[in-house]
């Protein structure tokens, strides 16, 4: 594992990586899932993120760990999504894609179904928009912090958030109207 600090002992490097995992594994796992990595593949992707982090410890500035990990998760999610899409061409769709469109409101409000519907909505967002939407609406990170995490201008964050919200709200409206008709 890369030590970053050339003077760091293997034990120190190992301790830093363990601390990184312990502090951020839940955030990274959630991010991967919200960025479209299927849950069945999320653990592998999580390991890849921390493998990258362990090799690039010297590139992770103190206090910027979350930004580094999210950026890495974004790249790995991008590839995982493409792989998953190729796989879906030959495999049966995932359970959440087989939901009954005529299900009632009560069922929609069920936790599992709500989560599945959200994933379908997020799935249709471009990844850059989705990343901002997820960080702002779900991780409750400020727009200024998102700009720093993604290394983009604040105006870009605002623009992507607007697009993400428009996409989300339009999808929810369609969903609600489907429910009313059923």
């Amino acid at each position: 594992m890369s030590g970053g600090d050339p003077a760091a002992t293997p034990a120190e490097v190992s301790a830093r990586v363990r601390a990184l995992v312990t502090a951020h594994f839940a955030f990274v796992w959630r991010s991967l899932v919200r960025l479209g990595v299927p849950r069945a593949d999320a653990e592998d992707a999580l390991q890849q993120v921390f493998l990258v982090a362990s090799r690039k410890l010297d590139a992770i500035e103190p206090g910027r760990e979350q930004a580094f990990l999210f950026g890495t998760a974004l790249r790995i999610a991008s590839r995982a999504r493409r792989t998953h899409e190729r796989r879906r061409e030959v495999l049966a769709p995932e359970p959440h894609e087989q939901l009954d469109p005529a299900a009632g409101v009560d069922e929609l409000l069920d936790l599992g179904r709500a989560r599945a519907e959200l994933e379908i909505i997020l799935e249709a967002m471009p990844l850059d928009v989705r990343a901002v939407f997820v960080l702002f609406e779900l991780e409750q990170i400020t727009m200024a912090e998102i700009a720093a995490v993604l290394d983009v201008a604040p105006g870009t964050v605002a623009s992507r958030l607007r697009r993400g919200r428009a996409h989300f709200q339009a999808a929810v409206k369609r969903l609600a109207s489907t429910e009313r008709r059923s």
Binding site: M1, S14, V17, R18, V21, T22, F25, A26, W29, R30, V33, A42, E43, D44, A45, L46, Q47, Q48, V49, F50, L51, V52, S54, R55, K56, G71, T72, L74, R75, I76, S78, R79, L108, L109, A114, R115, E117, L118, I121, P126, D128, F136, E137, L138, Q140, T142, M143, A144, A147, L150, P154, V157, A158, L161, R165, F168, Q169, V172, L175, A176
Partner: protein
């Protein structure tokens, strides 16, 4: 920059419900332990730059476990011993107890001459039809993947691992295959630089 209110707070009931469903989600209970275990045994990056002479040994060490041990053993000229052990493992029918180890497998030079293959045992163990894929075949596929990765051919490495996963879904080297795939994707992520979308 003044942040707008979150939809979770000011959105419609349905919007809030959908968003809350994800906000409440926690990772699997034992994921932390498994991830810590992974980073403790994760591949060690090569000390030399890719393409240099040090990569092969570094790659062997990176893989760790049986594959790494075999590769290191081969580098030390002990491939015959390793091959003997492989033959024993490959000839063992599923569910049978492992054969007794005649000698420690640790490659401590100078290596003793490899014992001759146990002809009678091998003949007795030879099935009437060949097994679907032996451990040696598993090794060959993973070796193909590692060679491709070392040569910078990530697509080829992925293809070999895909073939491994298709042909040997529960292979004895599944852990090594997973580590190798993690290496490939980690390298790809590092090389990708800015977000690849």
């Amino acid at each position: 920059m003044s942040d707008p209110e979150r939809l979770l707070d000011r959105g419609s009931k349905l919007e809030a419900r959908l968003l809350a469903s994800s906000a409440d989600e926690a990772p699997p209970a034992d994921l932390l332990a498994r991830t810590l275990d992974f980073v403790a045994t994760a591949p060690v990056p090569p000390a030399a730059a890719p393409g240099s002479g040090g990569v092969a040994a570094g790659g062997a060490a990176k893989t760790g476990g049986l594959l790494g041990a075999i590769a290191v053993g081969a580098a030390l000229g002990l491939v015959v011993v390793g091959g003997f052990e492989l033959a024993q493992r490959a000839a063992t029918p599923p569910g049978a107890p492992p054969p007794p180890r005649a000698a420690p497998s640790a490659p401590t030079p100078p290596a003793p001459p490899a014992p001759p293959p146990p002809t009678a045992t091998a003949k007795a163990a030879a099935p009437s039809s060949p097994p679907p894929l032996t451990l040696a075949a598993e090794l060959a596929l993973l070796d193909q993947a590692r060679t491709a990765l070392r040569e910078g051919d990530r697509a080829g490495a992925r293809a070999s691992l895909d073939r491994y996963a298709r042909q040997i879904p529960h292979g004895q080297l599944a852990r090594e295959a997973a580590l190798l795939r993690a290496e490939i994707e980690a390298d790809a992520a590092i090389d990708a630089g800015p977000t690849d979308r």
